[in-house]
């Protein structure tokens, strides 16, 4: 069977319905009411509406939840006997489908894979969820003001990290299997063959590319940032508006900082849980040591850490950016702080002042 299936726009819910039986959990973009439009990945049940809009919150929680239990603990103390300590690790990993993520979301998952799976230790909580994850992406029809995926090496039609890629064409959608897993699933869904629509798909993807504004060359950005690293005035200047809230990190598909906390008294009847929660490197408390010493005491240093992690140190370690260009950090920043502007300013800084290399 071909790698391409064709379906009409009305058949999108049918596609989800046919995919759903193969999963314990299907996360689809779902529109939320409120004082502004927001779309989140919510569990799908038959009949629930599916939005194909780009989600406000990336789907990274499917593998790296907002908060998860690492294990529960309990100490039973008897006056006579030695105390008894019980630790129960909990790894919750339902078979999950992420439906209609965008290429930047899928790339984000690949970026998370490296530190969680290929570093010194394999993270068992992440690995279990990632192993059971299947991703269907929808390519973007055009570029926009605040996303910049083509700056970081992908683009509106990128297929990395996806098992199945959907592309909108005039008469509907073409689903393209990218992996063995995707191929098998698509076969089971039994839609019409879409091979004859491939030229239209390519045209749609090309049109998306053509709508983009030209991107700067970021191939040397890691060394540019290394040169700007010690220039505190530069970082202070670029981060003046920052409120240190951390919205940029929580809405980022590639940020993976976390904290570990114990919640609940070990000696209480119900014991407690050790939780891992997404955390935020923009917070002052993040790096403050018990002694009071803080290696990153102000917002300029914290933003420097965030920016250099994404474009310098992650790249030095893994050979790729820790940014998929989704633009959510720009979109959701309360003061519109633009990470692209920082990169461009760093480039301008090094080109304008070659004698200042290495900082001051």
């Amino acid at each position: 069977m071909s790698a391409y299936s064709y379906l009409t726009a009305q058949e999108i819910p049918t596609l989800v319905e046919r995919l759903a039986p193969h999963f314990e959990q299907v996360l689809v973009p779902t529109e939320q009411k409120g004082v502004k439009e927001s779309v989140i990945f919510a569990p799908w049940t038959k009949g629930s509406p599916i939005s194909l809009a780009k989600a406000t919150v990336p789907p990274k929680a499917a593998v790296f939840p907002k908060c998860e239990t690492l294990f529960s603990y309990k100490i039973e103390k008897d006056t006579q006997d030695a105390p008894k300590l019980t630790l129960n690790p909990e790894i919750y990993a339902p078979k999950t489908l992420i439906f209609a993520a965008r290429p930047c979301d899928a790339l984000g998952l690949n970026i998370l894979d490296r530190p969680f799976l290929q570093s010194h230790y394999v993270d068992p909580y992440y690995a279990a969820k990632r192993d059971k994850l299947c991703v269907v992406t929808l390519t973007c029809p055009s570029g926009c003001e605040n996303c910049f995926c083509h700056w970081v090496g992908i683009g509106p039609a990128a297929t990395q990290g996806a098992d199945i890629v959907l592309t909108a064409i005039k008469s509907g959608y073409v689903a393209q299997a990218m992996t063995q897993k995707g191929q098998e699933l698509l076969e089971k869904c039994a839609f019409k063959d879409g091979t004859d629509k491939v030229p239209e798909v390519n045209q749609a993807r090309k049109a998306a590319w053509e709508s983009l504004k030209p991107a700067p060359d970021l191939s040397q950005i890691h060394s540019t940032l290394a040169q700007s690293f010690a220039d505190l005035d530069f970082w202070t200047q670029e981060t003046q508006a920052c409120l240190s809230c951390g919205a940029c990190t929580y809405f980022c598909p590639t940020c993976y900082c976390f904290t570990i906390t114990d919640e609940g008294d070990a000696q209480s009847p119900q014991g407690g849980q050790r939780l891992r929660s997404q955390d935020n490197c923009m917070a002052q408390l993040y790096t403050r040591e018990a002694s009071g010493h803080n290696p990153r005491p102000n917002k300029a240093l914290r933003m420097r850490n965030r920016v250099t992690h994404k474009y310098m140190t992650y790249k030095e370690t893994w050979g790729a950016f820790a940014c998929s260009g989704c633009g959510r950090c720009i979109q959701h920043c309360p003061v519109g702080l633009d990470i692209r502007a920082i990169l461009l300013a760093a480039i301008a800084r090094t080109t304008n002042t070659p004698d200042m290399q290495g900082g001051k």
């Binding site: 004082v35 919150v57 605040n146 709508s211 809230c245 951390g246 917070a283 002052q284």
Partner: protein, 488 residues
């Protein structure tokens, strides 16, 4: 689905050490018959009872909470219960907005000798809780979303793009003042002409970037906490200035450090609404501002944004274009013409109107649905000009351990309660918390409700109106004309 299997309900009592705890003791020694539902926590003073303790208890499953202290004028620490009375009354009136019946919380005064009175109080309150039954639990309520209703459609003051305001004069004035100031904070164009970002003017050429108009949504007074003790200038909209005044009221800023600039504000965009028109991820070009609307090409299609429809609801209800406190301003304030429109200004804002239109149970469902999508990014807190604890927020501390990291809507709603209660009598309703929320959660409703409670209780008090006023929860009156004491 109550956890309580016996007839007893869970009632938490916070009793002051000097009077009510003694009163309960007296009742006990006298072997006065009392219901046994009450679990007593002894506190040094009713003034020690943080309203958050009460909300926490109710969130965690208490069916009722009773606070009892010394009679007013009898406080062991002379004024603790005067402060408590204000706080507790505000809390009592605030609870219903969360979906909690205000009868589940009472505060009373019982002295150490009043054993009989204690018996009466505890019996009456327990009966009251039993008549209400076990408290409905948030966990048992199905989340439900509700759509905001229509808002006031005619602005009190005409809206506009502010393009004809004397910006040039303002720029000259800022340039003149700049040598004496470390920085002047205003706005410049952001990623596209339809978005502004804060501008930090340190050199004359920075001033040329200053813009004025409907995109200047940010309240730059938020940056004041970072510049405490520094000579700074702020370019303010009339509503932003209220935050500055409130900070002055609380001695968190000093007047001589500040130079305040302003132009008449003709309204700013509600980007939630704007995005509904222009989309969230689109390409924009050809932005034009006329006096009645902005036009923009969105992905090649022309769109019009009439101000009356796309500006913030606070702007529709705004009655003053220039700040009450300003050093250098240009242009005129047509406030005088707007006197008749006060009534319209006092109408309920849409967020609050929505919540108030719901039953208590629907409110619980509403908050559950709203808070479930919160991802605790902290934008609401950090963009609030009145959140001055900064790196020492009690929601972050582990000791005391007010909040857990657990990702439940109740924890997240509790965070909103912390924020709202810490702003009681201080919030200037600039709306930055809600504007900053990337998920559009109508959290402003909680602040709006508190402001209306405060205004009702304390002679029309409005935070940020007069630098010499003391915020009402930071002071007390011996007789409180608007606070009705419990008769039992």
């Amino acid at each position: 689905m109550s956890d309580v299997t016996t007839k007893e309900l869970r009632i938490v009592g916070f009793l002051c050490n000097w009077c009510s705890y003694g009163g309960a003791d007296t009742a006990g020694v006298a072997r006065a018959k009392q219901p046994t539902d009450l679990r007593i926590i002894r506190v040094p003073c009713s003034g020690r009872v943080d309203p958050l303790f009460i909300v926490r208890a109710l969130f965690l499953g208490a069916d009722g909470v009773l606070v009892s202290g010394c009679h007013p004028r009898d406080c062991h620490y002379s004024t603790g219960n005067f402060y408590a009375r204000r706080r507790l009354e505000v809390l009592k009136q605030f609870l219903p907005i969360l979906g909690i019946d205000s009868r589940r919380f009472e505060y009373t005064w019982v002295s150490a000798s009043e054993g009989q009175r204690w018996q009466h109080v505890v019996t009456t309150f327990t009966e009251q809780i039993h008549s209400l039954g076990a408290a409905p639990k948030f966990m048992d309520v199905e989340p439900k979303e509700f759509k905001l209703g229509a808002r006031v459609s005619t602005p009190i003051l005409p809206l506009g793009a502010g393009q004809d305001q004397p910006l040039k004069e303002l720029k000259t004035a800022i340039k003149e003042a700049l040598p004496k100031l470390e920085v002047v904070i205003g706005w410049q164009q952001g990623r596209d002409p339809l978005h502004a970002v804060p501008l930090f003017m340190r050199k004359a050429e920075d001033v040329d970037k200053l813009i004025w108009g409907p995109c200047n949504v940010h309240n730059v007074a938020t940056y004041l906490r970072e510049y405490q003790g520094h000579k700074v200038g702020l370019v303010l909209k009339a509503c932003d200035a209220r935050s500055v005044i409130e900070l002055l009221q609380e001695n968190l800023a000093s007047r001589e450090d500040l130079t305040l600039f302003s132009l008449p504000c003709q309204g700013t965009f509600d980007y939630g609404r704007v995005e509904q028109c222009i989309g969230r991820y689109t390409q924009l070009s050809d932005v034009q501002f006329t006096q009645s609307a902005a036009t923009v090409m969105v992905d090649g299609t022309s769109k019009t944004l009439p101000y009356a429809e796309y500006m913030q609801s606070k702007c529709l209800r705004c009655t003053s274009r220039l700040p009450k406190l300003v050093d250098i301003s240009f242009g005129t304030d047509p406030t005088e013409d707007a006197k008749d429109a006060r009534e319209s200004a006092e109408s309920l804002p849409p967020e609050l109107a929505l919540v108030e239109s719901l039953s208590l149970e629907e409110r619980m469902a509403f908050w559950r649905a709203s808070m479930e999508r919160c991802i605790r990014c902290g934008a609401c807190r950090n963009s609030c000009p009145m959140c001055i604890c900064r790196d020492h927020c009690i929601s972050d501390t582990r000791d005391p351990h007010f909040m857990t990291q657990a990702d439940t809507f109740l924890e997240k709603l509790f965070f909103q309660v912390i924020h709202a209660l810490h702003l009681a009598g201080r919030c200037t309703e600039c709306g930055e918390c809600q504007r900053s929320c990337p998920l559009g959660i109508p959290i402003l409703a909680l602040r709006q409700k508190l402001n209306r409670i405060i205004s009702e209780l304390f002679a029309g008090y409005q935070a940020g109106s007069d630098p010499s006023q003391v915020p009402p929860l930071l002071c007390y009156a011996v007789e409180e004309p608007k606070i009705k004491e419990r008769e039992w």
